[in-house]
Symmetry: C2
Subunit: 336 residues, 2 copies
Amino acid sequence: MTTTLADRVLAGDPRAMARAISLVENEDPAAAELVRAIFPRTGRAYLVGVTGPPGAGKSTLVDRLIVGLRTPSAQRGKDQNPSAGSAVSACLTVGVLAVDPTSPFSGGALLGDRLRMQTHASDSGVFIRSMATRGHLGGLARATGDAALVLDAAGLDVVIIETVGVGQDEVDIIRAADVSIVTLVPGTGDEVQALKAGIMEIADLFVINKADREGADRLASAVEANLSLQTFQPDEWRPPILKTVATSGNGVPELIDAVWRFRAHGQPALAARRKTRSEYRLRELVSHRFMHRLEHAILKPGELASIVDRIAARELDPYTAADDLMWRVIADTKSQ
Amino acid sequence: MTTTLADRVLAGDPRAMARAISLVENEDPAAAELVRAIFPRTGRAYLVGVTGPPGAGKSTLVDRLIVGLRTPSAQRGKDQNPSAGSAVSACLTVGVLAVDPTSPFSGGALLGDRLRMQTHASDSGVFIRSMATRGHLGGLARATGDAALVLDAAGLDVVIIETVGVGQDEVDIIRAADVSIVTLVPGTGDEVQALKAGIMEIADLFVINKADREGADRLASAVEANLSLQTFQPDEWRPPILKTVATSGNGVPELIDAVWRFRAHGQPALAARRKTRSEYRLRELVSHRFMHRLEHAILKPGELASIVDRIAARELDPYTAADDLMWRVIADTKSQ
């Protein structure tokens, strides 16, 4: 009997995990098989999303979260939490996916990522991986979701998804998380922007990092003022505003406590969120599979380009062309 | 004979234009018909993309561009430009689409937009419209592209697409433009971020706005240093770095000149870019039409939710579910 990549992922082999993430990132045909094989063994990891504008110190904060989660006190915090389930192992393991949707063309990884890996290189309970977009619409969010499944299947207890940006990508990526931490930073004049940026709606916890800087209280007040505009039901989670100084580690234990409090509070909400996430992923995946079929099984090389030429010449409009292509996929399959 | 909405758009009726944009924004079924009807009359407007990080003063800059384009000197500049074509009218008309991909949930328009409209309300040669995402993947970029077609068909000479963000959305939206202006601002510490943000690759012109602030020269040097890493062919356009103070209007005439210079330089490049844009839009639209068929003609109410439940229970994996759904669209159509 041969050992498959999925078997090795399920056994927690770091090299297999890295290889599996490369497959999903490159949209390798083997990725779908892999996800099929590991999927029944997923759903156990707690997914923590960390997002916020550029320069908010997210990487440093995530490093501190790793250290904090690897210390016994954080594990005690989790053990004391009845909702943490029976799966809490003696040692809390952590995976990090550092996602950069802001480099659509370079395809490059986050700067300093290699350094970060070295910091935790001696710790076999930590797995860090950076991911960058390959330029496909929705591709990065899909790949990140699949990569989280890989780390989940490999048995990591906590998977941190760290992403930068202020747009729809970030929201799509962070949809994969069970808890979303929005990191803000005082003194960049981005206060108003941060509030208007639509990430208010996805935040379960606000963190004001670099809280030793001038303007931290003003930023906290601005977030608080914005929260006070919203109506919360008596049993509804109201996002707390935490202050951290990631460089020194100040406030990080309180942040970890808040994550566990959210987890304890949010079990019904978690199920609903995972359902929304699944539905979103499913829609996106159907569309992706259809396009893959169109481009790889139906269209001849250069054919799309010639249709585009006809559109450019205004001989054909894009809606008619799109419908023609859709029907061709169907017609071709009829003849099978 | 009845006058259709398309007829009224082609006649340049502002109310019809606003109504048409609402149709494309809301993904109304009538939108496809409208685009089909107006499409043969498009391709004449020059599409100017203005993007950059939050707080770069893009709205003020766009206001100044409107004023600049509406003055005789700018028109002279365009008339002197042999590549501007014969379509230059006595009066250069301007449309603005202010796109906010950062409010995926609120669906709200840009703040201050109403104010801006009032500034130009007395000028019938200016049409301003804000657009916000309805939360669909790719929906905003598609809607923006269609809205630009509406303004193009209505006979506007220049259509400015203004967008905020640092991610893939922004890149998708700005793909619609014939020229992309990337706006940066000194002193926010975002210099490195801006350069790393993947928007280097889409910039045809760099504008350092608020150039009277400290750090403008340093920012210009950073952009220049980054450009010097790239290799440009002798006949290839090298993005110039311009300085503006949008609040006073300083540097705006030079920016408009640079846009016309780019246009004069870039005719072959423009054709290639429009082709790339068309292909991208076509792929996105095929996928969208397929999903629309799946959700409106194939699935029964609640059916997607029950599939999602099975995924959540780990009875079914997402890839198998996606392929099943794709084949159901095809099977259903077979029986027609």
